[in-house]
Amino acid sequence: MSTSTSHHGSELVLEAIGKAFGEARAVEGVSLTVEPSEFVTLLGPSGSGKTTILRMIGGFVAPDTGRILIDGSDVCDVPVERRPTAMLFQQLSLWPHLSVARNISFGLELRRRPKQEIDERVRELLEVVGLSDFGARLPSQLSGGQQQRVALARALALEPRILLLDEPFSALDTKLRIELRTFVRNLQREVGTTTLLVTHDQEEALGISDRIVVLRDGCVEQIGDPTEIYDAPRTSFVAEFLGAMNFLRGSLTREGVALESGTIVPVVERTDGTLGPAKIGVRPEDVIVLAVGAEGDEGAGGDAFSVEQITVKGHYKELSMRSGDQWLRAYVGKDLTTHEGDRFRLRFRRTHLFGEDPQEEVAGDSVPGAPSGDGRGATRVAGDQGLLPSGGMQLR
C-alpha cells in the first residue's frame, strides 16, 4: 500500500456513556479506552447495545450521559459530518445512482479537493480493495462482497482517525465473510486506523480482534484479549457466548465443588469463603474421555457417562453424553472409535467456577464491580496447568 494511505490511528475514550430509548436502557455506563491503531470488537447478542455504542461514536445517536473523547477532545457536540470517524454499514449502503468511483470520491468532492487529487485517490483506493477495473460500474453491477469492499474504500477515502464497522460482513456468505474480514484486518494493520467492530459472531471476534468487549444488556461483561476472554471468562454468560461450554451444577464446599453426581472438583485458587450453589464450566475440548475398564479409568473414578449421540465435525467428533439428567458435550479426535451407548469416565483438563446467578460474578479472585479487563479471570479450578490432571478431579 502506498504511504498516502497510511496514517496513524487516534485514541478513543468512552467515559461512562449511557443511552435510553424511552423506557428501554440500551447502554448503561460503558467505559472503554481504545489505544491508537488498536482493533477492538464489541461482541454481544442482539439488544446488548453494541450497535448503539458504535452509533454514538459515529455521531448518529447522542449519548444521554458520559463523554466520548477522540485524542482527548470531547466530540459529543460535533455533528456526524464533522467527526473524524467513518462507518461501514451492515446493509449494503452504496449510493445506487453513483458509479463506484463517484461513491468513493463523494466525500472528497464535498471537501472540494482538486480533481487530480481525487482521481488519484480513487484509483489508489480501488487498487487497495482490488477493484481497479470497476470504477465506472454502478453498485448494482457488483456482487455483495465487491460492494462491501467499495464501501470500505469509501470509508477510507477521507482517512478517518477511527473506523467503525457495524457487522459489515454479516450479509455475506461464510467463505466471503472470512475472506473479507481477513482482508479488513490486514488492511487495518497496514493503515493503522483505530478500528471498532460490532459483531454477534464470536468466531469473527476471536479471529481478528486485539481486544474484545463482551456486552450484555447494555453493560460491559468483560474486556480482554481473545485468549483471555476464551480461557478465563469472568461470567458464565461470557463463557457460553464465546465458544461452547458445559455447565455442571454443584455446590461450593470447603473441599471444592461437589457436583450433583457427587463428584468433587477441588478449587485451586481459594475462594473468599462463600459457600453454596455453584456452577462448574468445562469446555468440550477440555473433556477427556476414558473408556470404562481401560487403563487410567480407575483414577478418574465417579459416574460413567454414556454416549447418546455422535456428530462427525470433520477433524473432530462431538459426543453428546449423559449421566442421569446431566448432559455434557465432549470434542474427541476423529480417530476415536466409539458408538452410541458406549460408556466413558471423564477427566477435565481445565474447569471454570461460576456463581449460581449468571448475572453475578463468582466469588473468587475477581472482585465484583472491579474494573473489567484487568486480565483476571473467573476462579480457576484444578488442572489447568497440565494436559492431564493428576487426580484433579475426584470421582466418588
Partner: protein
C-alpha cells in the same frame, strides 16, 4: 377422491400442457389486437376527421381531404388564445405545485411528526369528493380575495388536482430510500442540504417525474374549475372543447383534440428515457 383418481388426473394435466401454452399465446395475441383496436381506432378516426372534407357514416373513408378545419382553428383568435393559455398556465401550475408539495412530500416520506396522518388524510380527501363541490366552496373565498377571473385564481383552482399526485407519489419515493444511504452521506461529510441535493433528490427523481407528468396533465386537462373561476376571460383548451363540440363542425373539434394531445405526447416522450432509467435505479435500491 381416492388415490387412484388423483393418479389418473396427473397424466391428463400433463397432456394438456402444450395446448394450454398455445392457448395462452393465442389469448395474448387476441388481447394485444383488441388493445390495439380500442386505442388506435379512435385516434385514427379523429385524424381522419381532422382532414376530411366529407365523411358520412356507411363510408369507411372520407369523400375528400381538406385543411379547412386546421385553417379555421389557427386563424380564429379565440381558439389560438385558448391554446396559448393552456400551454402557459399548466406549466405555471406545475411549478407552483412542486414548490408547495415537494417539501411536504419530503417531510412525509422522511420524518415522523405529529399530525402526519392528518396531513395525509386531508390531502387524500381532496380527491374523495366530487371536485365540483370543492370548487363551489372555493368560489366565495376567491371572490373575497378578488381572485375571480384572474390568472392567479385559475392557477389556484388547477392546483387542487395536482396536490395528491405531487405529495403522495414523491413521498413514497422519499420513504423508499434506506436510512443507511442518508447516514453514509452524512458520515462522508455531507450537510443535510447536501444529502438532499446529492442523494435523496436523485434517488426520488423517478417518482417526482411521474408525479410531474400526472400533475401537468391534470392541470392541462382541468375544465370545470377553470371555467367557474376564469371564464369568460380565461378560456383554456378543454373549456373551449365544450363549445366547439356543440357549435362547430366536427372537423374543428377533431383538429382541436389533436392539438390538445400534442403537449401530453411531447411530455411523455421527453420523460420516457428518464422514467426508464428511474425505474431501474429505483429497483437497485432493493
Amino acid at each position: 377422491m381416492s388415490a387412484l383418481a388423483s393418479a389418473v388426473e396427473v397424466p391428463v394435466a400433463r397432456r394438456s400442457l402444450l395446448p394450454v401454452a398455445l392457448g395462452s399465446a393465442l389469448a395474448r395475441v387476441i388481447l394485444f389486437l383488441a388493445a390495439l383496436f380500442f386505442i388506435v381506432t379512435p385516434l385514427a378516426w379523429i385524424v381522419l376527421l381532422a382532414f376530411a372534407g366529407g365523411f358520412t357514416f356507411p363510408s369507411l373513408k372520407p369523400s375528400s381531404l381538406t385543411l379547412a378545419w386546421w385553417r379555421a382553428v389557427f386563424t380564429s383568435p379565440g381558439l389560438l388564445h385558448s391554446v396559448f393559455l393552456s400551454v402557459t398556465i399548466a406549466p405555471v401550475v406545475l411549478v407552483v405545485s412542486m414548490v408547495i408539495c415537494l417539501p411536504a412530500a419530503y417531510a412525509i416520506g422522511r420524518y415522523d411528526f405529529p399530525g402526519k396522518r392528518f396531513v395525509l388524510l386531508s390531502v387524500f380527501s381532496i380527491n374523495a369528493f366530487p371536485r365540483i363541490s370543492l370548487y363551489i366552496a372555493m368560489i366565495p373565498m376567491l371572490f373575497f380575495l378578488n381572485l375571480m377571473g384572474t390568472v392567479v385564481g385559475v392557477v389556484a383552482v388547477q392546483l387542487i388536482g395536482t396536490i395528491l399526485f405531487m405529495t403522495w407519489i414523491p413521498a413514497t419515493g422519499f420513504a423508499a430510500i434506506p436510512d443507511e444511504l442518508v447516514e453514509a452521506a452524512r458520515d462522508a461529510g455531507a450537510s443535510r442540504l447536501q444529502v438532499f441535493r446529492r442523494v435523496l433528490f436523485p434517488l426520488a427523481r423517478p417518482s417526482i417525474t411521474i408525479a410531474a407528468v400526472l400533475s401537468f396533465l391534470a392541470a392541462f386537462d382541468e375544465a370545470q374549475g377553470t371555467f367557474l373561476v376564469g371564464a369568460p376571460t380565461y378560456v383554456t383548451m378543454p373549456i373551449r372543447m365544450y363549445s366547439l363540440v356543440l357549435n362547430y363542425p366536427v372537423g374543428v373539434s377533431a383538429v382541436f383534440a389533436l392539438v390538445l394531445s400534442v403537449p401530453s405526447v411531447v411530455l411523455l416522450l421527453s420523460v420516457r428515457k428518464q422514467l426508464f432509467a428511474g425505474t431501474s435505479s429505483a429497483m437497485h435500491l432493493h
